[in-house]
C-alpha cells in the first residue's frame, strides 16, 4: 500500500527532494557557523584564542561575549592567518561587554585562511564567548 502510494507520487517526491537539494546547500553556505566551541572561556590564559581547524574561506566574522560587569576594556580581537602561521589580517582590540557591544562584527574577507578570535587576559570576569564566521565554504 505504501509502495503504491509512493509510486503514484514519485514525481512529486522527486521534485521536492531535488528542490530542497538545491536550496539548502546554497542557504547553508550563507549561514553563520561557530569557530571552535560555543561559549568558550577565552579568559583562561593570556592570548587564548579559538581557531578554525583548517584554513577556510570566510567573508566576515563576529564574536559574541556574554554580558558581564565590570567591563575589561578593549580585550578581544579577530585575525586571519596563512597556513604557515603568518598574519594576513588582524583587527584592533575591541571591547565586547554590554548588551549593545555584543556581537562585534569584522567585515573583512579572508580568502583561504585560518579564522581566529582571541582575547587578552585583562577581563575582570571570565565571560563565555562564541566566535562565528560567515562563509561560502
Amino acid at each position: 500500500m505504501v509502495t503504491r502510494f509512493l509510486r503514484r507520487r514519485v514525481w512529486l517526491l522527486g521534485a521536492a527532494v531535488a528542490t530542497a537539494a538545491v536550496i539548502v546547500p546554497v542557504a547553508w553556505a550563507a549561514t553563520w557557523v561557530n569557530v571552535g566551541s560555543a561559549d568558550i572561556h577565552l579568559n583562561e590564559q593570556p592570548y587564548k584564542d579559538v581557531s578554525t581547524d583548517a584554513p577556510r574561506d570566510q567573508y566576515q566574522m563576529r564574536l559574541y561575549v556574554t554580558t558581564h560587569s565590570p567591563c575589561g576594556g578593549n580585550n578581544f580581537w579577530m585575525t586571519y592567518l596563512y597556513p604557515d602561521g603568518t598574519t594576513y589580517a588582524s583587527s584592533s582590540f575591541r571591547e565586547i561587554c554590554t548588551a549593545a557591544e555584543t556581537p562585534s562584527v569584522w567585515n573583512v574577507n579572508s580568502g583561504n585562511k585560518y579564522a581566529i578570535c582571541g582575547e587578552l587576559n585583562n577581563e575582570p570576569t571570565d565571560p563565555g564567548s562564541t566566535c562565528q564566521r560567515q562563509s561560502t565554504t
Binding site: 507520487r9 514519485v10 514525481w11 512529486l12 517526491l13 522527486g14 521534485a15 521536492a16 527532494v17 531535488a18 528542490t19 530542497a20 536550496i23 539548502v24 549561514t31 553563520w32 560555543a38 592570548y47 584564542d49 581557531s51 578554525t52 559574541y64 556574554t66 554580558t67 560587569s69 567591563c71 578593549n74 585575525t79 592567518l81 596563512y82 597556513p83 602561521g85 603568518t86 598574519t87 594576513y88 589580517a89 588582524s90 583587527s91 584592533s92 582590540f93 575591541r94 571591547e95 565586547i96 554590554t98 548588551a99 549593545a100 557591544e101 555584543t102 556581537p103 562585534s104 562584527v105 569584522w106 567585515n107 573583512v108 580568502g111 585560518y114 581566529i116 582571541g118 562564541t130 562565528q132
Partner: protein, 205 residues
C-alpha cells in the same frame, strides 16, 4: 503526462517551502543566545552625535540597514556618512558599520572616540606589505585624530559628520607610537597599546 507535471510543480513548491521553513528554524534556534537585555543606567552617548539629526547626511541604504538589523534588531537612525561607513543608534549606544572593517555598537567611548582599525596585507601574499585602515566615530567637537608613526611622521585624519577613516599604506600596528585627539577643548592622547596588538604576540593556528 499532465499528472506528472502537476506533481513536479507541487513537489517544487513543497520542497521550497520545507527548505525555507528549515532555514528559518535553523536561523531562529541555531544562533547564539548570548545577547542579553540592556544593562540599565547605560549612558546615552548618541546625544553627542549631531550626525543623527543632520538632514544633510543621507539615510543608509537598505543593504546597510540590513547589516545593522543583523547586529541588533531595532537599530534606528541609520545614516550613511561615507560610501563605506554608516552610523546608527541603539538603546543609547552609537553603532557603526565599516566596509571593509568592523561593525557593532558601543556606549563606551575613549575621550569621546571609538577607535578601530585593521591591518591587512596589500595583496594576498605572505610577502606583501601591510596596509592599515584606521577608522571610527567621534563626538561632536572632535575635529582630528592624529597618528604618530615610528618614522616620526604624523598622519592627521579629519572627523567629518562624526566619522573618520584613513588608509595608511605600508604600515603595521607596531609602527603606531601615538594617538592624539583634537577637539574644541584641546588635545588628549589615547594609548596605542589599548588598541593595537603586537604582531609577534598574535595567535598561531
Amino acid at each position: 503526462m499532465k499528472t506528472h507535471s502537476r506533481q513536479v510543480l507541487l513537489g517544487v513548491v513543497a520542497g521550497a517551502a520545507a527548505s525555507i521553513a528549515a532555514i528559518i528554524a535553523a536561523a531562529a534556534f541555531g544562533g547564539t543566545s548570548q545577547t542579553a537585555v540592556s544593562a540599565p543606567g547605560q549612558p546615552d552617548v548618541t546625544t553627542h552625535f549631531s550626525v543623527f539629526s543632520d538632514q544633510a547626511v543621507p539615510a543608509a541604504p537598505a543593504s546597510v540597514v540590513a547589516q545593522f538589523e543583523e547586529i541588533h534588531p531595532g537599530i534606528s537612525s541609520a545614516r550613511q556618512v561615507r560610501s563605506n561607513a554608516s552610523v546608527a543608534s541603539y538603546d543609547g549606544a552609537v553603532c557603526a558599520v565599516f566596509e571593509p572593517g568592523s561593525g557593532g555598537c558601543t556606549a563606551q567611548l575613549d575621550h569621546g572616540v571609538w577607535l578601530m582599525g585593521d591591518m591587512i596585507r596589500a595583496y594576498d601574499s605572505e610577502q606583501a606589505p601591510f596596509n592599515l585602515n584606521l577608522y571610527g566615530v567621534a563626538e561632536d567637537g572632535i575635529s582630528l585624530i592624529s597618528i604618530s608613526l615610528a618614522d616620526g611622521s604624523i598622519r592627521a585624519i579629519p572627523v567629518v559628520h562624526n566619522v573618520f577613516w584613513a588608509t595608511l599604506t605600508n604600515t603595521t600596528f607596531n609602527q603606531i607610537e601615538g594617538i592624539t585627539v583634537t577637539s574644541v577643548s584641546g588635545q588628549v592622547s589615547l594609548d596605542p597599546a589599548n588598541y593595537f596588538p603586537v604582531e609577534a604576540a598574535l595567535a598561531s593556528p
